[in-house]
């Protein structure tokens, strides 16, 4: 017989999952540039949050922010481990037909930014986060966010002009 407490956790978490799933998948896509792994990494992020919530003594204060940080960390790890895989893209020349020329140009340029700079751009301009919120998500100082942002914008302005 299922433990009712677990069922309750599951029900609450299911609601959270329903509410946040699409955003999490999109955030993975934005941070990695890869739609194919977005579902898997998002699922992994939810799993980690779920496991954490089960073991925590107190409720997670801001589950959405917690999830966002988890997604960001997973994407950073993915980025480190998938660099070789990126080489295969050269041969296959993957093109996303659903993007406009302008979006595709931005997408290509973002892929060439270091992960941390890309993350700052996505978190600021897509999620609309403040510097302090971005610093929390990326586990760095606000000053670092500022310098990464400046470098990223400089590169983007040059590449996209």
């Amino acid at each position: 017989m299922p433990d009712p407490e677990f069922e309750l956790v599951d029900a609450r978490f299911q609601h959270f999952y329903d509410d946040q799933y699409a955003s999490a998948v999109r955030l993975v896509r934005m941070l990695t540039g890869d739609s194919d792994i977005a579902d898997d990494l998002a699922q992994d992020a939810f799993l980690r949050v779920y496991r954490y919530a089960q073991g925590a003594n107190a409720p997670i204060e801001n589950p959405a922010a917690f999830l966002r940080t988890t997604v960001t960390n997973l994407c950073r790890s993915w980025h480190r481990t998938q660099r070789s895989s990126q080489l295969r893209m050269v041969r296959h020349g993957a093109v996303d037909d659903t993007l406009t020329d302008s979006e595709r140009e931005l997408d290509h340029t973002l892929r060439r930014l270091p992960h941390d700079q890309r993350a700052v751009i996505v978190l600021r301009y897509w999620l609309g986060l403040s510097e302090a919120e971005i610093a929390t998500s990326l586990d760095c100082r606000p000053g670092t966010v500022k310098s990464r942002h400046a470098r990223a914008i400089r590169t983007l302005r040059k590449e996209l002009s």
Partner: protein
Amino acid sequence: MNHNANDTTTADPFEVRLRRDLNGIAASTPTGQRNRFDPALGTLALAERPPRHNASYLLAAAAVAALTVTGLVAISSRSTPEPAATAPPASATLPATTSAPDSTTSVANDAQTPITVAANNAVIEPTLLTTSNLPSGLILEDGGSTASSGAAEVELVTPDNSASYRILWQAATCIGGSFSSRADALDALAAQQDSPTDEPRDLYVEWCEGPNYFAVYGTGSTTDGLVTLVSTVTAAADSSELTFVPPVGTQYRSELVNRTWSALAYRDGDRSLLIKVTSAISGQIPLSLAQVPDGQTLSVGPFTAYRMGEQPSPQLLLVYDDNTLVFISGDNLTDQELADAAAALQPADPALAPPVSGNCETFGAMCG
């Protein structure tokens, strides 16, 4: 996590365009909704759920964690752990199918002499491992092996591990202008000039030239340092060799193009153990281990291991023999259980880890 929740609007046309195009990219992302959150799809199944008999998910998910370590080894860091001892236990020798020369080399002078290295196409079989000290209750759930191949690669590291570089190259037909020329790539890199307040950071640059694609990654490097290295890189037309001028004092090695990965997974409810091995070359391993970031060195039996990760998912990285790098990770195991299992590593019957068809489909990120 809904986007634009705290939108910081701007009148800057460039930032307006940026915001618009990011929204467009995000909107194009398929979000094939998984209607139910299913913890059993991940690394751990809840204790309340029946054990899964097909452990593909377990292997694939656990491999994500293990591969994180792999990436760390390959990419390096700014920390300065001592290289691990590599002496294998007497019982730990299985022959490699091919031996390869030790290509770790010191660059000891300031002559800035170009170095040419060949793509390391050696095929090295790691030793499949199990443990004679399995945590109580765990049973073998699944095993498999797969081969992977990628770009040729050279790694360089400074003597104090404060900076490292990876140079990857392979034959490629660059399509659709996705990658720029070296000059344009260097311009883009130069645009990211360091400021005095910057901490050392990860940088990379990629370009196409002739029939080759190149990527150079720097960790703990300055922009100028990476630009200097990139400026010297050339490859043979058939991609068989790479020539470059290593930064003064760096050690370099050519990484394996072809790797074998094998793993055995053990499980008891929400407790699990994954022993994963991959190809390595004697003499190159210490350089790899020297680059493990933030690893805590500890002795486990005859091995020196690096401990990474936190409870409930600690991981150990160690060298078993001259051909085998080991990643041993656990979920909901104590540090002592993991260390005891690692200390008792021993060769296993290769039949326990048959080749996995379709490579990455089953092993996911384990394909490396």
